[in-house]
Symmetry: C2
Subunit: 339 residues, 2 copies
């Protein structure tokens, strides 16, 4: 009958005939321990099946190996990819990720930041730049590195990695115009700050080209989905039946728009051009394949963690503290209009 109690540092120490602190060092910085001790300690650890107690370590060292990740949505495919990137980068390290879902509410986000800070996280990743003032203040005095993700432009609290939403919308608008569409519309849901920024710039480009028509701007505060995409296109075509192209503020909407076009027997890209946003795997495989703006979601997640870890290891060591990963337009059949 084994002792029920989990083995502690002291157990390992007495078994290997060294002091507890040497065991601690063997684990955390083996180079500071002589080879002889190290081998003895490692054997004892092996034999006892010892694993350090994280709570005790956190209490004594005043910091944890938790990386807090605050996203506005778990449903949105966009953040699924960010998550993948984050987990990919964290996996081989001693850090854990803890996710908070702010549901696109700045107030809930602020509350979650408070909650995270209670556990003295090693680092924090938050989406966007639009925190409340108290939240911003908390982040500034967090005592750990912070990376804001998914956007680029404004100065970050600490570090940031993302891409320009204005540039993305500009790419989309110009592409539709270059393809020869003259009565373009836009579909947008959720209306978070990044969506609004894209909407705004798309409008501007259209206005400059003299093709802006507010009847063709259709939005909803609801979460985006394929169903909402269908509804919004329906609404758009009711308000402005002669619309010849549509920029969908994300790919779910774009797929919905495509389906609605199918239902109405509208030909894509001849009768209606469609451009999405994000370039999810799906869009490439729709029929016809959907033009979309590719966003580096996975890379954003990975890079955010890399920046965090570098900064944790050596504060102020990260030179590039505000990173634009860029976007690109992937032209496919849904805007390939025969001239």
């Amino acid at each position: 009958m084994k002792p029920k109690r989990r083995p502690t540092l002291d157990d390992v120490a007495s078994l290997s005939g060294v002091s507890a602190i040497t065991v601690s060092r063997t684990i955390r910085s083996p180079e500071k321990v002589s080879e002889r001790s190290r081998l003895k300690v490692q054997a004892a650890i092996e034999k006892l099946g010892y694993t350090p107690d994280l709570a005790a370590s956190a209490l004594a060292s005043k910091s944890t190996n938790v990386i807090g990740l605050l996203v506005p949505s778990l449903t949105n495919n966009v953040f699924a990819d960010v998550l993948r990137g984050v987990y990919d980068a964290v996996e081989t390290t001693r850090y854990f990720v803890q996710i908070g879902n702010s549901r696109y509410s700045a107030l809930k986000e602020e509350a979650l930041i408070r909650v995270f800070l209670r556990q003295k996280p090693a680092g924090l990743i938050v989406a966007g730049f639009d925190q409340t003032d108290p939240a911003l203040n908390l982040l500034e005095t967090a005592g750990c590195p912070v990376v804001q993700i998914m956007d680029f432009g404004r100065p970050p609290v600490d570090m940031a990695v993302g891409f320009r939403h204005d540039a993305a919308a500009r790419l989309a608008a110009r592409h539709l115009l270059e393809c020869g569409y003259r009565r373009p519309g836009i579909l947008a849901a959720r209306m978070d700050p990044r969506t609004q920024s894209r909407l705004q710039v798309f409008r501007e480009v259209c206005a400059e080209a003299g093709v802006l028509d507010e009847r063709r701007v259709v939005t909803t505060p609801h979460a985006s989905s394929v169903g909402v995409g269908r509804q919004l296109l329906e609404l758009l075509l009711t308000q402005a039946p002669d619309t010849d192209a549509v920029f969908c503020n994300n790919d779910d909407l774009a797929i919905g728009a495509l389906m609605e076009a199918h239902r109405r027997n509208l030909h894509v890209p001849e009768d209606l051009g469609i451009c999405g946003f994000n370039d999810l795997e799906m869009t490439r495989n729709m029929f016809p394949s959907l033009t979309s703006i590719a966003t580096p979601r996975f890379e954003v997640g990975r890079r955010a963690v890399e920046m965090l870890l570098a900064e944790i290891e050596a504060p102020d060591s990260v030179a590039e503290r505000n990173v634009d990963l860029g976007v690109s337009l992937i032209a496919r059949d849904s805007t390939r209009r025969p001239r």
Copy 2:
């Protein structure tokens, strides 16, 4: 200039003129403290902006408020919904969720269980019943409630909530047969244990009806996606061009199959019936709308947390320890064959 140091229990205690332990009780079980003390303490907490240190609490009480969630994939939409359910249920409680991604590897899952156990979690949620033997052993002696999710049938380590994959496949197969399809195929990717179980039962039902043809069973170990769905249908139709219906082992594959059918100018449901699995929001809004097996993913996540919390509050209090949430077939246009 404020003291940089975060306020502690003792600070609150001396400000409010009671002992530290009374402050602790005011926070954890206010009903054990007189109203007079409680008010004084609460005022002091407010004034100092005190928040308990989680590490210290974990060390002293030998348990945390972390709920570990182990999923095989973060990309798969299925788990996104489970996640939502979990977060939904956890949100109003004092617990946190920490996610581990096993990437469909039982060995990685075992390692992650070890990692989670180091922090003495309040509870653990793991996907499926197919853990390695050491992992099973770890779970049994975890010292916290454990819920296995997404499956039903085998006896759980502790508790389980899910649904029957055999029943789901049976529903799909019978439906296709009832719709009059006589040369049904099946598309499956990833081939995790639950997928294999569905595949197996679909085969059996087909065999019983005398319509099983192994050329129509097309699988791949790759992760499922819309693109893979297209490829698999292509392969299926190469091997057996007269196939008249297909059960896709998840909705991504089904959407891919639908797109490939469009491309080939095959009419759905006349030339090819399609039935998906999971009933993601998308399927309802495809054109034509896709028949699918609805799985209670969100509910599984929510219920798992509820069972965990009940069990944490009062061990052995949960009566129904093995819950089948059931599945249902949602018939839509993609199998609505004109007789």
